[in-house]
């Protein structure tokens, strides 16, 4: 009798997970439907449309109807050394800017973390994060004004200190580094914020234990802080990388890709193809390329998140 009841109970247990997820699944799909429809309409369809267009010769200013040209747009893109230079320049911008922002962000983040009882800390943090919340267009405009050799405050200060006027944005050697400096000014607070979040994720007990054990600072960093902080910090680096790869507003306003093409990043080139020359087929092919780069960066990001999950499960 007991064994029969127990057997029934076990069977009911087996059945339950089957039925309940079915109900939940339906409800889940129902709740997800509006979002999915929205996503499909505004994201999937345009992406597929763009993918399709990339195989066509289609220029809005031309009298010709779109014609299927296969991989011509892609081969044109690969053959065009001017555009390859633009892609390389974008990667150089990304690497230099993200490295600078990460190093400075870590330094500043650690400073605020260590000095959590510093008077005026909250106000300092609020002011420090301001560049990050100002729109990039506004940032670009006021930096452009500040760096103007004739009317700008930066040159006014330089000449007051006895230096000669410096042409930051139209010098073919200074324009690119200047953009990196401005991008770093704008986004270092973000990396500092990520550093603070990362350091905040380190359990206090472990830090206290490390202090009691008098672990040398480098051991504290490698054995206690880094294992916890690395996921958030890596996430910050990846988000910045994706964002830096798409940079357009800063270059468009400050230099318009110039002087010559020394600050022409790929997103600005894409803008020109699509909205100045109206070459929709060609610009779609360039967009597909950019999409793959973004997907690759996102894949790295997901890999790291999964690694975190696995690490947590192991613990």
């Amino acid at each position: 009798m007991v064994s029969q009841t127990s057997a029934k109970f076990e069977e009911s247990l087996k059945e339950r997970p089957k039925k309940r997820p079915d109900k939940n699944r339906k409800l889940s799909w129902l709740l997800l439907a509006p979002v999915l429809a929205f996503f499909a309409l505004l994201n999937v369809l345009p992406t597929l449309w763009m993918l399709g267009l990339s195989f066509y010769d289609y220029t809005l200013t031309s009298y010709k109807a779109p014609t299927f040209t296969g991989l011509t747009n892609y081969s044109d893109f690969v053959k065009n050394e001017q555009l390859s230079a633009s892609v390389s320049r974008t990667f150089i911008f990304l690497i230099l800017a993200v490295i600078a922002q990460t190093l400075l962000g870590i330094l500043i983040g650690v400073f605020f973390w260590k000095n959590d009882k510093m008077p005026g800390r909250r106000l300092a943090l609020t002011l420090f994060f301001t560049p990050m919340v100002v729109t990039p267009i506004a940032t670009a405009l006021f930096w452009k004004l500040m760096l103007d050799p004739t009317f700008g405050v930066v040159n006014y200060m330089l000449t007051s200190l006895g230096f000669s006027r410096t042409d930051f944005l139209t010098s073919s050697t200074l324009a690119f580094p200047t953009l990196i400096v401005v991008d770093t000014w704008m986004w270092t607070p973000f990396m500092a914020l990520m550093t603070l979040a990362a350091l905040g994720s380190v359990p206090k007990a472990e830090l206290e234990a490390a202090a009691i054990d008098r672990l040398p600072i480098w051991r504290q960093i490698t054995s206690v802080i880094w294992p916890h902080a690395k996921f958030i910090l890596m996430l910050g680096i990846l988000l910045r990388s994706i964002d830096a790869f798409k940079t357009m507003d800063l270059t468009y306003i400050m230099t318009n890709g110039g002087p010559g093409d020394t600050t022409e990043l790929i997103a600005l080139s894409l803008y020109r193809f699509a909205f100045k020359s109206f070459k929709l087929g060609y610009s779609s092919a360039v967009s597909v390329f950019l999409l793959f780069i973004a997907i690759a960066l996102t894949a790295i990001y997901l890999y790291i998140l999964n690694a975190k999950k696995k690490a947590e499960q192991t613990e």
């Binding site: 050394e81 230079a85 139209t170 890709g257 020359s277």
Partner: protein, 359 residues
């Protein structure tokens, strides 16, 4: 919508222009077809704005005479026929960067058509051409020795300008001149009203046509027409035509020209003595609008793409990214030939190395 159709129904809108430049620049497409699509709105030509007060200063006149042995011209009559070399001599005389006064300002910006339009008079007036409108060929025409020399001369004027000269567009020139930091500015005459300020009042400014190169002068055309959208419904079409009728009334044109810095472009307007006296920039504007005195370029749908290519290359030369004018012209010519060839506008392919060209 074809302007010719609107003119047929509203003959009062078909106004005789001052010169064929108005019709060919703002109305006709394709070039030479005689088919009109546009309605003249605000034609524009180029000139040079000068500090009249500095030219008229007796001390400056004496110093100039002592330095060069020549009289410093200060009247429109003399200055409107000045040779390029003579104007540069005056610019050099007034170039005093240590005192915050630069000799001149021209447009070299990569933005829109700033560099190109400022450079074209240097090329056109010294025998250069930028393309062949019959065959739609650019390569071998734009990259010519004449254009190379003209570009070197144009960029050579940077020594009389502030360090960021290569970023100058219309607005930057207005700022520089009206803040009293430049003796002269090569500028569109349609912005003449804005080339003065409290610091540099209008009575201290004189504008003249572009200088001549051994007696030759061909400027670039600016400005824009009205056009009517062919997809308008009947109501909007009627309103569009009504706006044009209002725009061309004497009252509106009076207000536009006398109070708001507009310029006369019709045969009747150009003959109106009131318009001629309204501001110093009207005379040079009409001078530059005379037959053959200015010319427009590329009435083609590929315009924006062709322009972007040469703006980057030319600006690259001005800023030192591109080492020589020859390289900049070679790059622009090859890329433009490729654009036109791909668009099916010419049968002549670009040079074989076009894809490997970089600035």
């Amino acid at each position: 919508m074809k302007a010719d159709d609107v003119f047929a129904a509203n003959p009062e809108l078909d106004i005789e222009p001052f010169s064929s430049l108005v019709k060919n620049t703002y109305q006709v497409y394709p070039d030479g077809s005689g088919i009109r699509w546009g309605f003249p709105q605000m034609p524009d030509t180029q000139g040079v704005f000068l500090r009249k007060d500095m030219l008229e200063d007796p001390k400056e006149q004496a110093a100039f005479k002592q330095k060069t042995g020549k009289d410093l011209p200060s009247t429109y009559e003399v200055l409107s026929n000045i040779e390029f070399d003579d104007l540069v001599e005056i610019i050099e005389f007034f170039h005093r960067p240590a005192k915050g006064m630069y000799g001149t300002a021209l447009m070299y910006s990569k933005e829109y058509d700033f560099f190109s339009c400022a450079y074209y008079p240097f090329a056109y007036s010294t025998g250069g051409k930028i393309w062949d409108p019959e065959t739609n060929n650019v390569y071998g025409i734009l990259n010519s020795p004449e254009n190379e020399k003209a570009m070197e001369q144009f960029v050579g004027l940077k020594k009389y300008q502030p360090a960021n000269f290569a970023a100058f567009g219309i607005g930057d020139m207005i700022d520089l001149f009206t803040q009293g930091k430049a003796f002269s500015a090569w500028q569109w005459l349609a912005v003449g009203k804005f080339m003065s300020s409290d610091k540099v009042p209008a009575d201290k400014v004189i504008s003249i046509p572009l200088p001549k190169w051994k007696g030759n002068l061909i400027g670039a055309m600016g400005g824009q027409p009205w056009v009517i959208n062919a997809f308008n419904d009947d109501d909007h079409m009627r309103v569009a035509v009504d706006v044009l009728k209002w725009w061309y009334t004497k009252e509106t044109q009076d207000k536009f020209i006398k109070e708001n810095g507009g310029l006369p472009w019709s045969a009747e307007g150009a003959a109106n003595p009131e318009y001629l006296e309204v501001a110093h920039y009207v005379k040079p504007f009409l001078y530059m609008l005379e037959e053959g005195r200015s010319q427009d370029f590329w009435h083609l749908p590929e315009y924006a793409e062709m322009l972007a290519v040469q703006q980057a290359a030319f600006n690259g030369y001005a800023t030192g990214q591109v080492k020589t004018a020859k390289e900049a012209l070679e790059y622009a010519a090859a890329k433009q030939q490729q654009i036109l060839y791909k668009a099916g506008r010419t049968e002549t392919p670009p040079p074989d190395n076009v894809d490997s060209l970089k600035i």
